[in-house]
């Protein structure tokens, strides 16, 4: 056992490991905040769709060779979030079909563009699949974060958390009953937009870390687990933040020790917690 601690101690001497821990926990915190809202508003798939859009945008960014990918990915994802919300209200193409269309489309285009880029650049095809794999499932090594990445992540997290706290009551009102909020003079369209933008921001900052396919899991699982056991909106959110932080922390440590990919390790931890909570809620219901 002490060997394990020694090994961890040694790893945490390295700045890159510390960066990974900071970024991982911040992402876990942000992504768990809006999970309940997404689940209850039936927006779960929008999160998924947006992450595919972010993947497509990243491919475009790679092609154009812009040094800071964020400049393209962030605005494209935010715009798509707004568009997806709009189509949700439009009956011509149903919301879920629109999400499927955009997400699969972005995925296909992104992959194609990445291949074209590599042919021009004269790289080998194995490199492309490695690139694609790491964008979809997160880097296999988490030790590639630069101090700049960490700072971007910290700033974004502070913004997301502040926005969430300031608009907490409004987000609750709009999530619980949008029609009531709208009817009584609350500008629910604006808050829907806000929710969409915040989700887009979370997805983009989380993408480098866990990969675009696994972000939804990070957003949805803690919320679903918390909803099994807790009964008020506030306690569900606090609980999902705690679950998310613990899972992210554990996931990162395990992935360092066992050399597993970070993203999927964290998600595995989230899934385990979900089953434990489901079991607990089943038992408490039986006991009553």
């Amino acid at each position: 056992m002490s060997e394990v601690f020694d090994k961890l101690h040694m790893y945490f001497q390295l700045p890159s490991v510390r960066y990974a821990m900071i970024v991982g926990l911040l992402i876990a915190l942000c992504s768990s905040l809006l999970g309940v809202t997404l689940v209850m508003k039936r927006f779960s798939f929008i999160g998924d769709g947006l992450s595919h859009v972010a993947f497509g945008a990243m491919a475009v960014a790679t092609i154009t060779g812009i040094t800071n990918n964020m400049l393209i990915i962030m605005p494209v994802t935010i715009i798509s979030a707004v568009l997806l919300l709009r189509t949700g209200q439009n009956t011509k193409i149903k919301g879920d079909a629109a999400v499927a269309m955009i997400s699969v489309g972005a995925l296909a285009l992104g992959y194609m563009l990445m291949n074209i880029a590599s042919q021009k650049g004269g790289r080998t095809s194995s490199n492309v699949s490695a690139d694609v794999c790491s964008t979809l499932f997160g880097s296999t090594s988490i030790l590639t974060l630069s101090p700049a990445d960490v700072w971007i992540c910290i700033v974004m997290s502070v913004i997301v958390v502040t926005v969430f706290l300031v608009f907490y009551n409004k987000i609750f009102a709009v999530t619980f009953d949008e029609n009531f909020a709208k009817a009584t003079g609350v500008r629910s369209d604006m808050y829907n937009l806000l929710i969409a933008v915040v989700i887009a921001v979370i997805i983009v900052i989380a993408m480098n870390f866990v990969g675009s396919l696994l972000i939804s899991a990070l957003i949805i699982f803690p919320a679903l687990s918390a909803m099994r056991l807790f009964k008020s909106f506030r306690s569900v959110i606090i609980c999902s933040v705690v679950i998310s932080l613990i899972c992210a922390g554990l996931g990162i440590i395990v992935s360092i020790l066992a050399g597993t990919p970070v993203g999927s390790t964290i998600v595995t931890a989230d899934i385990t917690v979900f089953f434990i909570f489901s079991l607990l809620s089943f038992i408490t219901k039986k006991g009553r």
Partner: protein, 240 residues
């Protein structure tokens, strides 16, 4: 008695199909208007249009002078989303105060007190910490009404308020709404299937069915042809 709400030549419906048309009526301060009609006659659609949730096909709906959007309370029919929502009763009732906040992010002490008072009034104070999804239909309805009361300062719109209530609870609900109207001077607009209650409590009746069949005071309605025909079908009790 100033006019609060005016509808002129309003027609309602979904894309291409008109559900009801030629609605002309006014609601004055202190009125208790009951909207009656058969299923699918556009009653709920009318409520939604009045609240600005659904645009009307043509015509004008205007709120005059005194009442602004954030002084209105609304008791909707329950949606599926809400039935399994993890939220405590207190959180839901308090969210009715949202329209008093404007841009202020948190609730003030008065608003929290108001929510408490409303819960007391509807006798749900002991449910305060309970989870909404674990309540019975009647209890849920009370919670939603408490929320509506928090947001209603001048006017309240109710869409089938007694759905899912037993006769006793339904009566209490009606008494409560009548009290609001008479004691607190809140203008009431209610959609109802229950003709007995409509003629007992309302001051005005609007009867819709494809078009406006009747609008006027309750007394006029009971002597009118439409009224008498409808009351006899629905088992209304004419001599209270």
């Amino acid at each position: 008695m100033s006019i609060l709400l005016r509808c002129e030549n309003v027609s309602l419906g979904y894309e291409g199909s008109v559900v009801t048309k030629d609605l002309n009526f006014t609601v004055s301060s202190g009125d208790y208007l009951c909207i009656v009609g058969e299923n699918g006659s556009g009653k709920s659609t009318l409520i939604k249009a009045l609240l600005g949730l659904k645009p009307q096909l043509s015509g004008n709906i205007t709120f005059c002078g005194e009442v602004s959007k954030n002084e209105i309370g609304y008791l909707p029919q329950q949606t599926m989303v809400q039935r399994d929502f993890p939220a405590s009763v207190q959180e839901i009732v308090l969210s009715g105060c949202m329209n008093r906040c404007g841009l202020r992010p948190f609730y003030s002490r008065e608003e929290k007190k108001l929510a408490k008072d409303m819960m007391k009034r509807l006798e749900i104070t002991d449910l305060e910490k309970r989870c909404y999804r674990e309540l019975s239909g009647g209890q849920q309805q009370r919670v939603l009404l408490a929320r509506a009361l928090c947001s209603a300062r001048k006017m309240i719109l109710l869409d089938e308020p007694i759905t899912g209530l037993d006769p006793k609870a339904a009566n209490e609900m009606y008494e409560l709404i009548a009290g609001l109207n008479q004691k607190d001077g809140i203008t009431v607009i209610m959609v109802s299937h229950d003709m007995n209650a409509a003629v007992r409590y309302a001051t005005h009746i609007l009867h819709v069915g494809g078009k406006q069949l009747f609008f006027g005071t309750k007394e006029d309605y009971m002597t009118s042809k439409t009224g008498q025909a409808f009351l006899s079908v629905m088992g209304g009790d004419e001599d209270e």
